[in-house]
Amino acid sequence: METLTQDTISLLAIVAALMPLLSFAGILLVPGDRNRGSFFSILNISTSLVLSIIVFINVWNKPQLHQQIEWFTIGDWHFRVGILLNNLSALMLLLISFIATLVHIYSTKYMEGDPYIFRYWAYLGLFCFSMLGLVITDNLLLLYMFWELVGFSSYLLIGFWFTRDTAVQANKKAFIMNRLGDLGFLTGIMILFTQFQTLDINLLFGSGGFFEHARVQDGLWTFSSNNMNAVWLTVAGLAFFFGATAKSAQFPLHTWLPDAMEGPTSVSSLIHAATMVAAGVFLIARIYPVFNADVLLVIASIGAFTAFMAASIALTQNDIKRILAFSTISQLGFMMLAMGVGAVAPSIFHLVTHAFFKCLLFLAAGAVIHEMHHVKEEKGLDFDHQDIRFMGGLRKHMPITFATMLLASLALVGIPLTSGYLSKDAILIQSFEWSATQSAWAKIIPYSALFTSWLTAFYVARLVFKVFFGELRLNALFNQSFSLHEAPSAMKFVLIILALFCLFPVFSLNPLHYEHAWITEGLPYISGIARVNIFHTLIPATVNIAAVFLMYLAYKWYADNQKAPDFSGSPLFKFSQNLWYMDKLYKSVFVNGIVGLSKASFSFDKGVIDGIVNLFGSIGVVLASIACWFDRKVIDGLVNATATFSRTLGSFVRHFQTGRLQHYLLFMMLIVLSFFVFKYFSHAI
């Protein structure tokens, strides 16, 4: 393909991002059938895919493409936004559109029969648009907007079956936790803006960018004329990492991801396995120069801890999707760990390979769930169709699903000849090399990563063996003989394509050495880590031998029914099965705390503030009643008293008119006498 101009490429990239938005708007704004939208969405996303391929070809390993337009002006200061296409963004663009297309095709069969499927296509379109936009934007503010949009579409999709209470609770939880992380992101943006007066990614983090010119000396973070206390750099780094923590489900903001499995499985595969949760890792890669050594250490520690924690929880879960969700958290922890030790390229490599095999795992699990649900509906039984304790021996009924899932599991474990082996061992080796240059305490991180890989092997094997081997436990439960079908062809097709990407040839022609994979050659590779040759052979060997052994152990325990030792009484088992009591802790501390605070402020508002207002009101009423009393008793009383007085006087005087003659005579004489007396005595006095 001839070289296209920069303008054309950026236009293609923008159009690629906008196509899914077209499907979102088109489906929701144009009224029609309830089942509309599948063809239109697939058309749009495939167009996106084609455009992404073109863009990728034109951008990979070529000079980066940076185009801007002016958005708004404040005084002399111009705010520009645009597109930044470098290796990282082009790779992500391709990955996202590819996986999205496959999930769209899968969803046609998986979501068949859902009454309001047009909403599904619309939301999926919104998600794809926001994810694609997130990877191509060059401005932190726009990235933040797309970040939020991604969170929002995740909310919409988790709660797709909103009539179920668990789905509603889950999507609320996901959204709130994401918003919490967004606070961190925003804080980071504000700090950066204060220091650098710009949010342009290229200007800040690119080669020759501001970060390279900024110095940290004597406790001050200096850049041209701005000075800030050096602690702000650390704070900014931590803040950005906090945002990534929420999006990528790291400790402590990981509890939303298992609950997000309430959404349809195809959604889980796209969003919560392959793409959205990878956005956090992508962000860290994008703004990597922000993090100083302390923050990187924090990132690595949290990544390692999360990986270990999630793997330990996945050991005891029974819901197939939950196991995969915790597996996702664990692998994201790996990616964070890699970022923290400085191995950016292996981290992104692992992101790409993880996208493929995790998506495949979810879609295959979706096929299994679909079939189990079918059986449940047909026979009218009541059991949890996602519980692996009711499955078993499905490899006879669903061979293709079994084969693809097995391949994906091997990739997840990191068996050689799979793509996962390359990326995962890259991370492990790099982390060991890094720890060799650090203090002794730093060794905890790679060793815990190693241990987590072994746990990964075990729980994945448990999953596969429990689901696909042995006898269908449903038969024993209901004393019937059930038969399940293979997945429909649309789903099979997608599974097979994804399975192909789990193998090594797509990524590297050398199955054993990751350095020659074309991805790692294209991504920023921190060469500050000294190569220790012994690690490059020792670590893969250790990991894989132990993994094989653990898988054999799992086979012994789970492939035949009832052979597993029962640990359910031990406290470690309970700790793991209750998700390390994190959910309960959060609920009792934060949720109840906030609810209590809200109740307290409501009662304060009602009692005190309304009380004060009502007090004034009642004071007014009292004053009014006093005035009324005064008016009625005193003022009216005066007037009435005058009337009453004249009446009383009149009545009194009236009684003299008795009508009796002798009384009249009496009074006449009395008056005459009094005249006489008065006249006479006044003279005498």
């Binding site: 002798q662 009496l666 004489m669 009395l670 006498l673 006489f676 007396v677 006479y680």
Partner: protein, 178 residues
């Protein structure tokens, strides 16, 4: 000697007057009034007004009193019924205003009499010839003045008597049913 008789007459007047007002029985009081009028005539004699005394007896006692006696003796029985309730007290509650006023009047009159000092009035002391003597013929003087000086009142009184006669006769007539 004369003053004793005068005081006796005075006592009879006053006592019979008191008895008139004290008696509940109407007939008795009229007859006691009769006695009072007679005694009044006696007092007139002592004031050397013999013609007035005789006139009093003839007209007052013989005319007025007899008229009164005949008026109620010949009228309905209900008139004679004593409307006064039989109270044992003479001084009942409803008498008090009358007693009070009359006593008050009495006091004031007596007091003004004492102030006026009637026994030493100038015009009486200097009247000399004008004072009546027991040997004078008052009839002579009354007759002369009645026809000369007091002619108009004399005629007016006669007209007045005519009016009274006609009036009384009209008032007391019996209604004829037509």
């Amino acid at each position: 000697m004369e003053s004793i008789i005068f005081y006796v007459f005075a006592a009879i007047v006053l006592s019979s007057a008191l008895l008139v007002v004290a008696t509940r029985n109407l007939v008795r009081s009229i007859f006691l009034f009769f006695i009072t009028l007679f005694s009044m005539a006696g007092l007139f004699i002592f004031a050397l007004a013999d013609f007035v005394a005789i006139t009093q007896i003839v007209i007052y006692v013989g005319g007025v009193l007899v008229l009164m006696i005949f008026a109620f003796l010949l009228s309905n029985k209900q008139i004679l019924n004593d409307p006064e309730p039989l109270k044992s007290k003479i001084i009942g509650l409803h008498h008090l205003p009358g007693i009070f006023v009359s006593l008050l009047f009495f006091g004031i009159i007596i007091w003004s009499l004492t102030l006026a000092n009637t026994d030493q009035l100038d015009w009486i002391a200097s009247s000399g010839e004008n004072t009546l003597k027991p040997s004078d013929n008052t009839t002579h003087y009354i007759g002369i003045t009645l026809m000369t000086k007091y002619l108009l009142p004399f005629e007016v009184v006669s007209v007045f008597l005519l009016m009274a006669l006609i009036g009384a006769a009209h008032l007391a007539r019996k209604e004829r049913e037509i």
